[in-house]
Amino acid sequence: MKLGLVVDLDTCVGCHACATACKQWNTSGTIGPLSDERPHGKDPSGSWLNRIHSYEVGDSPHSKTVNIPMSCMHCETADCVTVCPTGASYKREEDGIVLIDQDKCMGCNLCSWACPYGARELDPNSGTMKKCTLCVDRIYDEQLPEAERQPACVLTCPTSSRVFGDFDDPDSEVSRLTRERAGQQLMPELGYNPVNTYLPPRIPKQQDSMSVSPMQGVRQLVNRIINR
């Protein structure tokens, strides 16, 4: 199995719900609390496993806002694992999930240096590295209804722009979406082979608004509504 996420950059609205759901679930999960510094102060800081960046792509007036949520890509060539001197950082053979054994980490930061995606953050309290677990404590939990055996970020996404699945299965939804929507990896030239895949925004159909008179436009709209 090669578990990972597909993120649809066409529908992601940048609401940060995935990040807060992630923090909420994982702060009481297998890797211990995700602690904060000055949570109610002027400059709150703390460890998060998922962060959302917003970009302007293209030049105005043909620009577009794109929100890119970033968490661990569970890379196939995970340098964060090979650089780890203590063996705390490891990649599971059975499903490819990259995890950190909190009992072994010595907090040297080297894995965060090796990660190009900023997926690893040092917990200010425990002094150990924290990262996305792909909600390993949810997805295999047989106490949960089957529909809920998914990462917290996927379950909470209001626009369903996050999909979880097995990339090794060609018929899974993640494989199908990657195929049909030309899903791509971020920064592929570094050679980490990230599993998480991003679906580029759909290209809107070109509409030449000037060639349609305002009245024609209204007539078309009314006809379309009536014909429904």
């Binding site: 970009y55 794109v66 980490c105 040297c108 965060s112 240096w113 971020l186």
Partner: protein, 309 residues
């Protein structure tokens, strides 16, 4: 990259220590330590190991969870940091045996001298590979980094060896010439490195976000206060300031110590100034190491809005 002071101290002082030990071992093999008494050789070896130990102790200061540091010996097969830890510790018993061989004049002294020298150089190499193996930082991901780290160790260890040699009154002009030659080579390597680093190359905000055909600008980083990632990777120094520091570093690390060694070589000043030359060079190397971190730009910065690394 954020220059952690403990790591600067670690790489500079342990580098000088390994360099000094390598010179002592080379002296045994090539015969230029024959002018030194047994006690003088042991003093040099002790100085080297004290410098190495100060460095290693300093290196543990930057660990956020040092109680697990003992586990760092366990991933020798994959991790350069683990290899460094193993070789650094392995050197102690070997250097101890070398000291015993000097003291009791064992017949196998050449083997132990050679082994100490090789282990010192191998440890230096493993330290530099921690940085050079990171594909995320193009300023570090180059074979020039291990070459430079070993060269710095050999020149700082070499000038210290000269200074101690002068203190014992057995200063050799040939050795001064060799060390001066190494300083010039190291300076040339560093200038080549600076030239290479200035070339635009590597990942850009386009490849980072996947929008390779359009301009991409950061609108919102997604957090209101600096995060771990900003603190660790977002270290920023003004470009003109960096240029100034590069010039100062080149003068202090290479030119001034080189001039001092040359003046001693030519008999213009007393040999005791070699100690001063070493101290100046060490100060310069600290600045060099600070620049090594301050100028390294991690690709995570692309996601924070930087256009290129």
């Amino acid at each position: 990259m954020h220059p952690a002071f403990s790591v600067l101290i670690f790489t500079v002082t342990s580098g000088a220590g390994y360099g000094l030990l390598a010179w002592l071992g080379a002296g045994q093999l090539l015969g230029f330590t024959q002018t030194l008494t047994v006690n003088q050789q042991i003093v040099i070896g002790l100085m080297a190991m004290v410098l190495v130990s100060i460095g290693l102790a300093s290196s543990t200061m930057h660990l956020a969870n040092p109680k697990n540091a003992w586990r760092s010996f366990s991933r020798f097969r994959t991790s350069w940091l683990s290899r460094e830890a193993v070789f650094a510790i392995l050197l102690y018993p070997v250097a101890g045996l070398y000291a015993a061989a000097i003291f009791w004049q064992w017949s196998g002294i050449n083997i132990l001298a050679g082994l100490s020298m090789i282990l010192a150089l191998v440890t230096l190499f493993t330290t530099s590979m921690i940085y050079a193996s990171l594909k995320t930082i193009r300023q570090w991901n180059t074979p020039m980094v291990p070459a430079l780290f070993m060269a710095y160790a050999l020149i700082s260890g070499g000038v210290l060896f000269l200074a101690v040699d002068a203190f014992f009154g057995t200063l050799k002009p040939q050795l001064q010439a060799v060390v001066m030659g190494l300083v010039v080579i190291t300076l040339a390597l560093k200038l080549v490195y600076f030239f290479w680093q200035g070339k635009p190359q590597g990942a850009t905000i386009q490849t980072a976000t996947g929008f390779s055909q359009a301009s991409v600008r950061l609108l919102d980083a997604g957090h209101s206060a600096p995060t771990f990632l900003n603190r660790e990777f977002g270290y920023q120094v003004a470009a003109d300031q960096l240029l100034r520091l590069r010039v100062i570093m080149t003068l202090v690390t290479f030119i001034v110590p080189l001039a001092l060694v040359y003046c001693v070589f030519g008999g213009l000043v007393g040999a005791e100034l070699l100690g001063l030359a070493w101290l100046i060079m060490m100060a310069g190397l600290l600045l060099e190491r600070w620049l090594f971190f301050a100028e390294a730009r991690h690709v995570v910065r692309l996601y924070q809005g930087e256009q290129r690394t």
